[in-house]
């Protein structure tokens, strides 16, 4: 019964923390809005109304899919105290190579998509694997190596995305990109009532990844080892966990998921990796993993919130508020969330210590009695 009460209290605390963070961010946004001579109440109502229109909902879901995958990739590392800052480089390299290869071969529809997915995951995993190898063989911090690998991936993509190599000009613009994917490699969208735009089919894959992440971490031996290593490497080693192998496996997994990040956009909308392919989703993923506290449901909420804020920024222009305010709100949300979570964590620990202390104090006479 106490265990159930404990978990109830934990959920309440988490919700409370998220609520406090949200209130702080709303306060900051209100101040910023007031400073820029806007009526906060009017802006908030307009934004919420705008965000509920079907077309905007579809956009939110579509944007959120990539963010979700990116945040899951980051979270896999976070749970083991590994910082995969390199999701950005991993997904861009993966999406670009998968796009080029996907356009070069012809296969029947399901196989074609499957091949692109597998290639993207493999590329992402390999790129993350470099950082893992550097860490386990030479002790190089993954924070620095993944940041460097991001830049290197960026220059490889820039090199390959050239008319002499993998790129062709995109018809009707001065953009260049990989050959467009044939119909067999495109993932059809899902309908939503009340709008012409479609939800990316890859949203289902993202959901599966979320479920898989939860099962892997909470219902398998591997997940247990992973969390144990993240919380106390010494304890993990003492119980027979091979930390080096865990580092490599976790980084490969994180990289494989990172490889998927660009695919919703690639297979559902752009069908080519061009100069204008969205960049920076890897960093967004870090923020969202922090917001969602590495929990698959929390991350989903965080991804939707992030996408909602970005969608909302479009209406701010009409209200004569500069849309950039959204980026301040996003930054404030993240920062206040991490601070509040840390405070709650400390509060929880002190509460646990107190309750354990009380229990021990209550049991003490009995123990003594048994001894005597």
């Amino acid at each position: 019964m106490t265990a159930r009460r404990e978990s109830l209290r934990r959920i309440a605390l988490t919700m409370g923390a998220a609520g406090i963070a949200l209130v702080v961010s709303l306060l900051v946004s209100t101040v910023v809005l007031l400073l820029s001579d806007a009526d906060p109440v009017e802006v908030f109502t307009e934004v919420v109304e705008y965000g509920q229109k079907p077309a905007q909902l579809v956009n939110m879901l579509n944007k959120g899919t990539g963010y979700y995958l990116s945040a899951i990739a980051v979270a896999i590392g976070f749970r083991m105290a590994l910082f995969n800052i390199g999701v950005d480089g991993q997904y861009r390299l993966a999406a670009m190579l998968a796009a080029a290869l996907g356009a070069a071969v012809s296969l029947p529809a399901p196989l074609h998509v499957l091949m692109i997915v597998v290639v993207a995951m493999a590329v992402g995993a390999l790129w993350a694997g470099i950082a893992a190898l550097l860490k386990v063989t030479r002790g190089v911090s993954e924070v620095i190596s993944t940041i460097m690998l991001n830049a290197i991936a960026g220059s490889i993509v820039a090199y390959l995305l050239h008319p002499d190599r993998l790129a062709v000009s995109v018809a009707g613009s001065n953009n260049i990109g990989t050959e467009p994917l044939p119909a067999s490699a495109r993932v059809p969208g899902l309908r939503l009532a009340g709008t012409e735009s479609r939800v990316f089919g890859m949203v289902i894959v993202a959901m599966l990844v979320g479920v898989g992440y939860w099962v892997l971490l909470n219902r398998t031996r591997f997940g247990f080892d992973l969390r144990a290593t993240g919380q106390s490497p010494t304890a993990a080693i003492a119980s027979g966990v091979d930390v080096r192998r865990m580092v490599v496996t976790t980084m490969l997994l994180s990289g494989a998921v990172a490889g998927l990040v660009g695919l919703p956009q690639l297979l559902g909308a752009s069908y080519t990796y061009g100069l204008d392919f969205p960049a920076g989703i890897g960093f967004t993923g870090i923020a969202i993993a922090l917001l969602g506290r590495n929990h698959p449901v929390g991350i989903a909420l965080g991804a939707l919130l992030w996408a909602f804020l970005e969608e909302a920024s479009q209406i701010l222009d009409l209200l004569e508020v500069s849309p950039e305010i959204v980026r301040i709100i996003q930054g404030t949300v993240v920062l206040s969330v991490v601070v509040v979570y840390e405070l709650v964590r400390r509060y929880t620990i002190s509460q646990q210590q107190r309750s354990v202390g009380e229990q021990l104090a209550a049991e003490e006479p009995a123990v003594e009695g048994a001894r005597a």
Partner: protein
């Protein structure tokens, strides 16, 4: 905390190698050797840009922001706080520097840049020291926040000004002054144009001598005042951190905060000071970008230099001289890439790899030696078969160098013992 990952470091230490002492002298020796090789390659390939004074001037101004960011990282990490938010603090520095610079001139820009970066540092200190948030998490969050803040503030402050817009500021009023040494590099004394001796020597093209003249002239010709100041900050940092009681206290917070606390040091205050100074230095790096390296604020101007600065600091083994060497190397690689003169470097890479292979043979590590030899031959072939290196690939030279350095030298590096670890006052056990 001894995990199996840290074992190699421990073995090293037991063998009596003192890693901290190694970097300065080794770097100097490496620098001399590299210079000799460069000079010979310059002479044989005829690629005069390799050591020309123009290249050196450019390399210097590219190295300064990296070095300043690295110094920022050094201050913070010596006090035990990992500062991955340097990039964000640098962004704040560029914005603030341009904002004050376009209204009142470059030195106000420098001051504002310092303040802007310091505010970013203060935020990091509040989050990591007071609230105990994970250092990397806080740094990432600050970088995200800084990017958004700079964009928003640009819309508020720069749109509508002549030459300003949502992603760029109006030009900074007046350029920052420069110094040129008279006689050696053609500086003016009173109204007299003194001779430019170094340029004359440089133009002779004599190996080593002309190269040396090129390097010296690059460091003495049209050097901005802020560059001079930035270079002076390296010995100043060394002096403050390693030769004063304050510095000893600050570093003790990075090595063993509990011991520091027991000696009566206010660890929180030390960490606050260190992180705020760290932010100010990163902000100064940003101000340098807007007042010297270019003439206004442009979004994305920092281009990851904060991270490269962090890499330079690690490259330099958490010591000022080493990080200055790292910054110089990265600045030089960056400049060669900009002036499209990287092709001859392939020979140098081949030579270095060959030398490493020979060393491995002597140490009876044949597999490593064979790998090195194969790579050396590959680079040499690349050099002889092609005429240039694709510029897109070259732009990642500093990053690749960082990875290689970490790969080869990571076990000699020793970061402050308590770097990045949470510390709560009075909760040590």
């Amino acid at each position: 905390m001894t995990t199996s990952l840290e074992k190699p470091v421990a073995t090293r230490l037991r063998r009596g190698v003192t890693p901290g002492r190694l970097s300065g002298r080794a770097l100097l020796a490496a620098g001399v050797v590299a210079f000799g090789v460069l000079s010979i390659v310059r002479w044989t390939t005829g690629e005069n840009q390799l050591t020309s004074s123009g290249t050196m001037t450019g390399a210097l101004s590219l190295a300064v922001p990296i070095g300043l960011a690295g110094l920022g990282g050094l201050w913070s990490e010596r006090a035990g706080v990992v500062n991955i938010g340097l990039e964000g603090m640098m962004i704040l520095g560029t914005w603030a520097g341009a904002w004050a610079g376009f209204q009142w001139g470059p030195w106000w820009g420098v001051l504002a840049g310092l303040v802007g970066g310091a505010l970013g540092g203060l935020l990091h200190a509040v989050a990591t020291v007071t609230f105990g948030v994970d250092h990397i998490v806080s740094g990432v969050a600050i970088t995200i926040l800084a990017g958004g803040l700079a964009r928003y503030l640009s819309v508020v402050a720069f749109v509508g000004e002549p030459g300003g817009g949502p992603t760029n500021s109006p030009p900074v009023r007046r350029a920052m002054g420069t110094v040129t040494v008279p006689v050696l590099s053609g500086g003016q004394v009173g109204g007299w144009d003194s001779p430019d001796l170094l340029r004359t020597v440089e133009r002779t093209g004599v190996p080593v001598v002309a190269d040396l003249a090129g390097v010296l002239r690059g460091l003495t010709h049209h050097v901005s005042h802020l560059t001079v100041l930035a270079i002076l900050l390296v010995p100043l940092t060394w002096f403050v951190l390693w030769r004063t009681a304050f510095g000893l206290r600050l570093r003790s917070c990075g090595e063993n905060p509990t011991a520091a606390e027991s000696l009566g040091i206010n660890v929180y205050r030390m960490k606050y000071v260190a992180v705020v100074v760290s932010g100010a230095l990163a902000g100064l790096a940003g101000a340098f970008l807007v007042t010297v390296a270019s003439s206004n604020y442009q979004e994305g101007q920092t281009a990851g230099r904060g991270f490269i600065g962090l890499a330079a600091m690690i490259f330099g083994n958490w010591r000022p001289t080493g990080l200055a060497g790292g910054a110089a190397l990265f600045g030089y690689a960056d400049k060669l890439q900009l002036s499209d003169a990287v092709h001859p470097l392939l020979v140098i890479v081949a030579l270095v790899l060959a030398a490493l292979a020979v060393r491995n043979i002597l140490r009876r590590r044949y597999v490593a030696a064979a790998a090195g030899a194969v790579l050396a031959v590959a680079f040499a072939t690349w050099f002889f078969v092609t005429d240039d290196v694709p510029s897109q690939l070259v732009s990642s030279t500093p990053h690749l160098v960082t990875l290689l350095v970490l790969f080869f030298a990571s076990q000699r590096l020793r970061m402050p013992a308590a770097d990045g670890q949470p510390y709560r006052r009075g909760q040590s056990g």
